[in-house]
Structures are given as C-alpha cells and as structure tokens.
C-alpha cells in the first residue's frame, strides 16, 4: 500500500505517522510538502496532527489554502482514501471535506490521555477489520477537539452512519460522563458520505506498537492494508 503524509509548517505528528505506517506496518510512505502542487500516485493520504500555522487564526484554517490541498480534494473525489488525525481532522473540516467545525475543549484545557473509543461503524475501509461496538484504547492530545455541527448535519451523520468513533468508557457506555471534550453526540471520528475520508481526533499512530501503552490503533492500519489487498486481488 502506498501512502503520502502531508507536511504543513507546524505539523508535528508527521514523522510519527511515517514511523507507524512505514516501519511498523510496512507501507510505502512518502512525505509530501504542503507547497507541492502534485500529489504522488498513492492509495492513502494522511493529514497528520500538529499545529499547522500555529493554529493562531483557527485550527486548520490556513492549511486549507496550501497548494497540495486541491490535490487532496481531487484524490478524495476520485475515491482515494484520506485520513485526517487531530489537526488533520481540523484541516478536513476547514476545507469542507468533512462537515462540522471544532470548538475548544469543554474543560478549556489541552487534554493528553488515553481514552476509550467505541467503533460505531465498521462499514468503512478504515474499520473493516473491527467488530461493531469494538472498544479501542487510543490516546488523544488536543485543545480543540470539541466537535460541533448543527442539528440537521448531525441527523445526516447519524442517518448515514457516518459517525465512526465515539468517546466511551471501558464498558462501552457512551454518555456525557464519557465525553472528554464536549463533542456533539460524543463524536471522536466521522467519515464522509462516500466513506473514503475519515477524520478523527484520537491518534491511532500513537497506539500502533506493543512497546507503547496500547496498540489498539493498529486495527485501523490493518483494515486499510486488508482493503488494499482485497483491491489487488
């Protein structure tokens, strides 16, 4: 499987994604600078976490104007896979590839800790190897991960089963007490209607190896590799 990790000024999970996909999962990974006008031919585009342009205006607000983003949009329109993690999710929202926007965490703090995610949809290329309702222990690290959308958008997300992950606890309960940042409907990750673009605040690349505190994040990469294998056949 071929993947491109987009590097913006201020990206800081770019090398983590590279490590997880290349060294750990064995994908063919290229780093692509945001000023590049051409996206190499890849199956997967990763928009990594960080603080693109310092997040000074709004998270992800300036990155959407980078030349490479037009290419990423075209890639998505062609049905290519895109995953935006943390700041990458914020960039996908700002650039309109996914619906909604991000507010500051309800606590007003940056939050870095392991959380429990409940898999709400296995009908995506990113979650095909997971079981419905499967719980994943994956860390978050963000100050603005409080997902917002209006009622109509939320209904669409729910009707189309575009909510992929929600914040839960180790028992799989999803309620206000398990909502770490105030997101609508405990949303931790959503996909687009075509299901080829996923945005999520938690960091699967930080939970991909046995030596780290969890390796539940691997199942997302395994799903993608499995998908690629199926296509190849």
């Amino acid at each position: 499987m071929k993947a491109a990790v987009i590097v913006f000024p201020g990206s800081n999970c770019d090398t983590d994604c590279e490590h997880a996909l290349k060294t750990v999962m064995g994908m063919d990974v290229q780093m692509v600078w945001h000023k590049d006008a051409v996206l190499p031919k890849v199956d997967l585009v990763v928009i990594p976490g960080g603080f693109s342009y310092g997040d000074y205006l709004r998270t992800g607000a300036i990155a959407k104007f980078s030349p490479i983003m037009d290419e990423v949009k075209k890639h998505a329109e062609r049905g290519g896979l895109v995953i935006g993690i943390c700041n990458g999710f914020q960039i996908l929202l700002e650039s309109g590839l996914l619906p909604g926007a991000m507010l500051r965490n309800r606590s007003q703090h940056f939050i870095c800790k392991h959380v429990w995610l409940k898999t709400e949809s296995v009908n995506t290329p990113f979650t095909s190897q997971l079981k419905a309702g499967q719980l994943l222990n994956v860390p978050v690290a963000h100050g603005e991960g409080n997902y917002y959308c209006d009622d109509a958008t939320l209904k669409t997300l729910q009707d189309n089963k575009q909510i992929v992950f929600t914040y839960s606890n180790e028992k799989g309960e999803v309620n206000d007490s398990t909502n770490i940042n105030g997101s609508r409907a405990n949303i931790a990750g959503i996909c687009n209607a075509k299901r080829n673009v996923l945005g999520m605040m938690p960091h699967p690349e930080r939970a991909s190896e046995n030596i780290l505190s969890s390796w539940d994040g691997r199942s997302i990469w395994e799903s993608l590799l499995n998908q690629a294998g199926a296509v190849a056949k």
């Binding site: 607000a61 300036i62 929202l93 909604g100 926007a101 309800r106 007003q108 409080n146 917002y148 209006d150």
Partner: protein, 89 residues
Amino acid sequence: MKFKAKVLVYLKKSILDAQGNTTLHALKKIGFAETESLRIGKYFDLTLDAPSKADAEKKVKLMAEQVLANTVMEDFSVEVLEAPAHAAV
C-alpha cells in the same frame, strides 16, 4: 485609496461559548456581580488599498467569509472607514 477595516468574529449565538462563560463566572466571583452576559470574539484591525469604500467593504467581507471566520460556527461583522492620510501601513 487606503481604508481601515474592523472585522469582528464571534461564535454563533446558538453555540456554547465556554471561554466566555468561564470569564463571566470569574468576573462574578471577583466582585463584578452585576455582569449579566459575556461572549468572547476576535477582532481584526486591517488596512487595505481599494478604489472605493464599497469595494473595500466587498473585499473585507470576502476575507471574513473565506479566511477570518468559519461560518459553520462563527458570525462576523465588518466596518470600513476611510483611513486618515498619514496612516500608511
């Protein structure tokens, strides 16, 4: 011609403003009990060149829509003034 523009960006009324609420709570706590409501926004102060005030207004609105505000969650207002002659950038 040079114009000065003020752009205010604030969260839509329907959205909880947690920063604003925290600040309101703090104000009340330290003795400004009369405070009734408070919302926090962003203020952009910019100078630009445009053929007319109407053009300047149009440009600044575009900036606000496309860059300065995220209209999914934010509203904005724009005010354009003719800049005094010496207020060059």
